[in-house]
């Protein structure tokens, strides 16, 4: 988060006024997708466009096309797997970013 945006300060002779608000910018913590160990992969053939994954994603990284087909913003998806867990038709698979033993 950009520190200069973390507080609103109004300062003059009579008042010292600080409030606990922040105005986080898009991507101000860097590309958090690099934290991911598993990536959600959407199977478009199985997907029924129910949008559960889009509703439940805590990071707002399930994106929605005009035809309601979903896709993943891999720059910021942290790979929590909630989308895969809530999908009623198992159309989202969590795929390891690095195969076991590869490193």
């Amino acid at each position: 988060m950009t520190q200069e945006n973390s507080t609103l300060i109004i300062k003059d002779a009579e008042t010292y006024f600080v409030v606990p608000i922040s105005r986080p910018d898009f991507g101000s913590s860097g590309k958090t997708g690099s934290w991911r160990t598993e990536r959600p992969v959407v199977n478009e053939e199985k997907c029924t466009k129910c949008l559960y994954c889009w509703l439940y994603c805590p990071e707002d990284t399930i994106l929605r096309r005009e035809d309601d087909m979903v896709y993943v913003d891999y720059d910021y998806c942290k790979g929590c797997g909630i989308c895969a867990a809530v999908c009623p038709v198992n159309a989202i698979e969590m795929v390891p970013e690095v195969k076991r033993g590869e490193n």
Binding site: T7, Y16, V19, I21
Partner: protein
């Protein structure tokens, strides 16, 4: 227009006159009829507001804070156990610097269950950053509630305000109340102001983690707001007095205290009984007066020092106690008046126990005698037991 109103209905009328947009509350005696009345006003179309129903007081204030942060004039009310359950959110609200007004129907705290008047619930919120007022009678309840919105929304303050009214003594007792016209209140009360507004577009997060240094400076900022509130409360009360003809003295009401030798300090409805006691005492030749605390936060230290430094003695009546020390008004006042005058604290009226004008007068006579005998008095606690236990030895009470 003069109406006959309970204290609770006076609060509801005031909230309506302030044109609140949102209210959220959870029922608790003796507050319940405030929000019942507001609900009725909304249902009848007399008040254009949204009532958010919630499952607890913690949620009631959280919803009120959320609505207020989103730009609405918001109001809630509670009492006793409800207020204690809300306690965490009181800190959040004050620290968010979002103007909110809350009525508290002052009531005792269990165990054992007791629904009658005591100030422990209100006084327990002293350190949260809220501005805290306590009214003496129903007219003042209405006037203080309208004033509370203007105080809370003043940019020099931007802190939430509690309006305290004594449970049952005021909340459920009917008295004539002069209710101002809507257009006069509209002219007097400025449109809603607040430091920031959270909307879906504004991309503001409130209260997320910050550095320790910034946290510290925010605490300092709340104290600056509280200090500024001393001036603002006085200004608002004077301005209200000009507009509506009722001025209460700002932070402290001085009742015959200027020429008094001995002054009683207390707050809430029983100040009315104490005023009767002043008449009795003056007839007996004791020059007594009253400094009635209207706001315990901000604490009116400067005014109290100015009014009381040269008195022969100050007698403090607390309707609450900080167990292990003394009554809270006593501890605050004895630190404010450190070494200046004789002082005694009396604990009385807990759990709604009646305290009569004669009781106040007798306590004062006892205090005056001690001061005149000893010359120097510092008594943190004197217990004024309920009448039925007064002449019983304490050992007998225990057995």
């Amino acid at each position: 227009m003069i109406k006959t109103l309970t204290g609770n209905y006076a609060v509801a009328e005031a909230a309506k006159l302030a044109r609140i947009k949102v209210t959220s509350a959870y029922p608790i005696t003796p507050q319940t009829t405030i929000v019942e009345k507001l609900s009725e006003m909304i249902e009848k179309g007399e008040l254009e507001a949204k009532m958010i129903r919630v499952e607890s007081e913690h949620s009631a204030l959280a919803a009120t804070l959320g609505a207020a942060a989103a730009g609405s004039r918001a109001f809630t009310a509670t009492a006793s156990h409800g207020l204690l359950y809300m306690h965490e959110v009181l800190w959040w609200t004050a620290s968010a610097r979002i103007p909110v007004v809350m009525a508290v129907a002052a009531r005792a705290i269990g165990a054992p269950w007791n629904i009658h008047v005591e100030h422990s619930d209100v006084v327990d919120q002293r350190d949260t950053g809220w501005i805290i007022g306590i009214a003496q009678e129903n007219q003042e309840v209405l006037d203080m509630t309208i004033q509370a919105f203007r105080i809370s929304e003043d940019p020099r303050v931007y802190l939430p305000v509690i309006v305290g009214l004594d449970g049952f003594i005021l909340t459920h007792t009917v008295a004539p109340v002069n209710v101002p016209d809507q257009k006069d209140v509209d002219n007097w009360l400025p449109p809603r102001r607040q430091p920031y507004v959270i909307t879906p577009e504004s991309k503001i997060a409130m209260g997320n983690m910050t550095s320790d240094d910034d946290y510290y400076m925010m605490r300092y900022s709340i104290q600056v707001g509280q200090e500024a509130a001393k001036k603002v409360i006085e200004e608002v009360d004077q301005s209200y007095g000009k507009a509506f003809g009722r001025y209460y003295g700002g932070l402290v009401e001085c009742y015959r205290c200027d020429d008094a030798d001995y002054v009683m300090v207390l707050m809430g409805s029983w100040a009315g009984d104490a005023k009767e006691a002043v008449k009795i005492l003056r007839e007996k030749g004791i020059n007594a007066g009253i400094a009635r605390i209207r706001f315990i936060r901000p604490w009116p230290a400067e005014i109290l020092r100015e009014k009381l430094y040269n008195k022969k003695g100050v007698l403090v009546f607390d309707r609450s106690i900080s167990f292990g020390n003394a009554g809270q008004l006593f501890t605050e006042l004895s630190s404010t008046l450190y070494g200046m005058t004789n002082i005694r604290g009396v604990i009385a009226g807990l759990g709604g126990v009646d305290v009569l004008p004669e009781d106040f007068a007798n306590e004062m006579i006892d205090f005056v005698n001690k001061v005149e005998e000893n010359g120097k008095v510092y008594d943190p606690i004197k217990w004024l037991f309920p009448a039925k236990y007064r002449n019983v030895k304490i050992e007998e009470v225990v057995s």
